[in-house]
Symmetry: C2
């Protein structure tokens, strides 16, 4: 890590996360559960380039936001979020919440953000809990009914269906 | 504005705010009340370069986050936050809150973030209200006692004093 440019905590976060790709890589790890290089590359709706993805993964590991699993020869390495990585979720939430109000556009990806807003702050906590189970092997929290990721997937599927119907 | 790379609202926000300087410029407008090019340039603790500052101000105006006041010949133009600009405060809060926990460092700038955390979410709302008065000329909200910016300044001054005392 290079020396931070100042001791401002906003700057400290921006130095690690403030570029056009790092947060999108994290978003795909979090919301699409993409844990492998190939999945992150081919699944990217913004079309991230191979060299940029490789660079950002190295940086995110160096910053302690992701860990890279050890892979046997010929096997793919799996990436996991650290606790610091999981705690970037409120940043992603705040960015998306702003984007929902102040940037144009529709589509199913907006339904995800809309659901998070409708559900309120406890939903982000629930998501972080589920991420701890997925990435840090903490025991799953007992729960009645569908978990937060299932609710997000359902909201997105419903929005996709509505879009399909509109197009017909 | 260029065509967004996707209809994801997180991406939409990152396209406008996701670089190493835009959010720091906004931070200085918000927290240090720097409204002029020269003040933003000379006051920057991270040492922003002239050309980068000029470029980011143009971009932030184009994105509808800042407005640039008309200036008579030979006079300096003053920048103001729009409502969209004021609403980036929760993003700055989330970034700084993360930086406080996961990045090293101490100092008076951290005391600002610590105060915001201690005061809770209503404090960010209060700050946004005061920014509307400063930047959008809405009438000031009646209030008993010091406003949020005064409390931030007091917290920072107290931290600076502690640092001084520690050095002695």
């Amino acid at each position: 890590m290079v020396e931070p440019r100042s001791d401002c905590p906003i700057n400290a976060a921006v130095e690690v996360l403030g570029d056009r790709w790092s947060l999108l890589v994290l978003r795909d790890v979090v919301f699409a559960d993409r844990r492998y290089f190939r999945a992150l590359l081919t699944g990217s709706v913004e079309g991230i380039a191979t060299n940029i993805l490789a660079d950002r993964l190295v940086r995110l590991v160096e910053a302690g936001i992701l860990t890279r699993g050890t892979a046997a020869r010929g096997q793919r390495a799996r990436y996991s979020l650290t606790e610091a990585g999981i705690r970037t979720l409120p940043i992603m939430y705040a960015l998306g919440d702003w984007g929902l109000d102040w940037r144009p556009g529709g589509g199913e990806l907006r339904s995800r953000q809309q659901l998070m807003r409708d559900e309120g702050p406890a939903f982000v906590e629930e998501l972080m809990d589920d991420l701890r189970t997925r990435h840090l092997d903490t025991p799953p929290r007992p729960r009645d009914g569908p978990g937060p990721f299932e609710r997000l997937a359902a909201a997105r599927a419903a929005a996709a269906e509505r879009e399909q119907a509109d197009r017909r």
